[in-house]
Symmetry: C2
DNA sequence: CTGAAAGCGCTTACAG
DNA sequence: CTGAAAGCGCTTACAG
């Protein structure tokens, strides 16, 4: 069926290894010979068989994204942007992107990671969406398999990582609102504090409140979750406070949109009576009315940077132990709500 | 490093081929021997090397999704749902999902498809997002490479396909509105008619208008595009018509949300003065106020069905020539806007 | 600069 | 039911 390296060698009238050398540049081949070889390759539409090559080089030229159940539940744009960013980096270095999904309700959530390693179906792995204390990649790292975490690495298991600066993002939100004269600024967490990003945003909020106003008032803090009506009830509580907040930072755009609705219900105008800031810069923030000022996490670039790091790790460009921690700043998009 | 089949054979005290037979069930192996082998596999954490296996079986156990530039520009949820659906089917049959991105502005847009075939890095391919007349998969099909089109197949190049019934979707939208007493129903195409889905929705609209009201009035037809303000100008035209429509079907939710805005601007209340129906059942339709009645294309199931079909094609479960055309119905989600 | 040969880790006829 | 051997399509020392 498909042409093999033997066919090319015969067509060009050279030995098989000469073809290999010419293609991979692993040894000098006379210009004249090279030309004949490339012509033969062109004519036969030859492309080396990945499996055969992989068997000897121990490389598949695949990088994988391990999709945990948590990641599966994220805002659509987030996972997709990561995938697209990976695709861009992979394309530049001639890698393909492979997805490895965690089976729902798998007994061992780390199996889909380890399987990639054991089957050697990818040369390295990126993972996102781990919760606090969950380190399904621990064994992978111990075995020194190329791995990059998309998120915050834990001290117990050092590994290369790329993350968005969620703390800075929340800090920036407070700063922005403070600049507009707000002092009573409330915060609703995006989800459980078991998710690092959630905790980090809360920390950034607290830090900024302390820096700007000498401290955060605990009654201005609310705990949101992944539930659809998250933030709905909490908004009601916040807005019925005696000394009610003039601004609310919602940990996710989806929550921000609920805040706006609840506010409208209570006869509270956004942004005149209440400023609202969200996180994610999702379509929701653009479509909601008023449109929502939102903090973007540069997911596309994170996917891109993580893949670059991973590929360098695979190709030996950087050391496995000298773990890099890349942290990218969040970006504020000002819209109507604040 | 990783254990090989030889290690397992030695550990279990049998020949290499016996291990292979036991694992693949390709020959009878005594129960007693089997048990010893599986224990050895467990102990050594052995998993067969994909490249080695692929070299002899001519299988990678990967299925690929070819992402065209068009697909890249779709609503986030659409591409992601397809990917997730693929992941589900792949997981059941022990395949992995590989993504193959078209390089932006590539000279030959079909190269990324053909490369997969030539490198044999996947056993089959699914493609979505082709425009009218574009058939980058033509050569693939001619070579009888396992392929499933996510979309409408053209008569010139028959292949297995999975599609949503866009025509039925639009028809259903008209039917729904007619049931609510509307007669003057306008339609805005989701994008250029070069995209099959766009043309199909238009056809469904026309057919329904003919069936219910004896014909469609051309002044009620508007052409939308991928531009962000698409539908904005057209809504203005439609609403300033002498005999103005009481309902507008927008080809995409994003357009529907613009229609609602424009209507509000013109002092026209939705749904009282104007009913609006969108397509995609995206987050936009849920977040917009009023929320948008929308026609869902079952993308997750389409991805799932396409993968199932592809895997059967790969494994010889169905014939290559007896091309199946699976068409899944759209689903109407009634919300506030109509 | 080029050729002959070994070997990567599997599977699969072929004997026994 | 099990073993020895060939071979899949590459790459890479090793000679020349």
């Amino acid at each position: 069926m498909a042409a093999t390296i033997k066919d090319v060698a015969k067509e060009a009238g050279v030995a098989v290894c000469t073809v290999s050398f010419a293609m991979n540049g692993s040894a000098h081949v006379a210009e004249e010979t090279k030309k004949r070889i490339f012509e033969a390759i062109e004519r036969l539409n030859y492309r080396p068989n990945q499996s055969a090559r992989g068997l000897v080089t121990k490389r598949t030229n695949n990088i994988g994204l391990a999709v945990s159940e948590t990641a599966d539940g994220l805002e659509n744009g987030i996972l997709l942007d990561v995938i697209k960013g990976m695709g861009q980096a992979a394309g530049q270095y001639n890698y393909d992107v492979m997805l490895s999904f965690q089976k729902p309700h798998a007994a061992k959530p780390d199996d889909h990671l380890l399987d990639v390693y054991r089957k050697q179906s990818a040369d390295g792995l990126i993972m996102m969406g781990t919760k606090k204390g969950e380190m399904p990649y621990r064994e992978l790292v111990a075995k020194r398999f190329p791995f990059v975490l998309l998120g915050r690495p834990s001290a117990e298991c050092m590994c290369h990582s790329v993350n968005a600066d969620n703390e800075q993002g929340a800090y920036m939100a407070v700063e922005y609102l403070a600049g507009k004269g707000h002092r009573r600024i409330a915060f609703i967490t995006p989800c459980s504090l078991e998710v690092d990003a959630s905790q980090d945003r809360l920390n950034g909020y607290r830090k900024a409140m302390t820096d700007f106003f000498g401290g955060a008032d605990d009654e201005l803090l609310a705990y949101g979750s992944f539930a659809a009506d998250s933030g709905y009830a909490e908004t009601e509580r916040l807005l019925s406070l005696k000394d009610r907040p003039t601004a609310i930072i919602a940990g996710r755009d989806a929550i921000a949109s609920r805040v706006i609705e609840k506010a409208a219900e209570l006869g509270c105008k956004v942004p005149e009576d209440l400023a609202v800031v969200g996180f994610d810069n999702s379509v929701v923030s653009q479509v909601a009315r008023p449109s929502i000022t939102s903090i973007e996490l540069p997911m596309l670039e994170m996917g891109y940077r993580a893949s670059n790091l991973l590929i360098q790790l695979i190709e030996g460009g950087i050391s496995y132990d000298n773990t890099q921690r890349i942290v990218l700043p969040c970006i504020l998009h000002a819209r109507e709500s604040a």
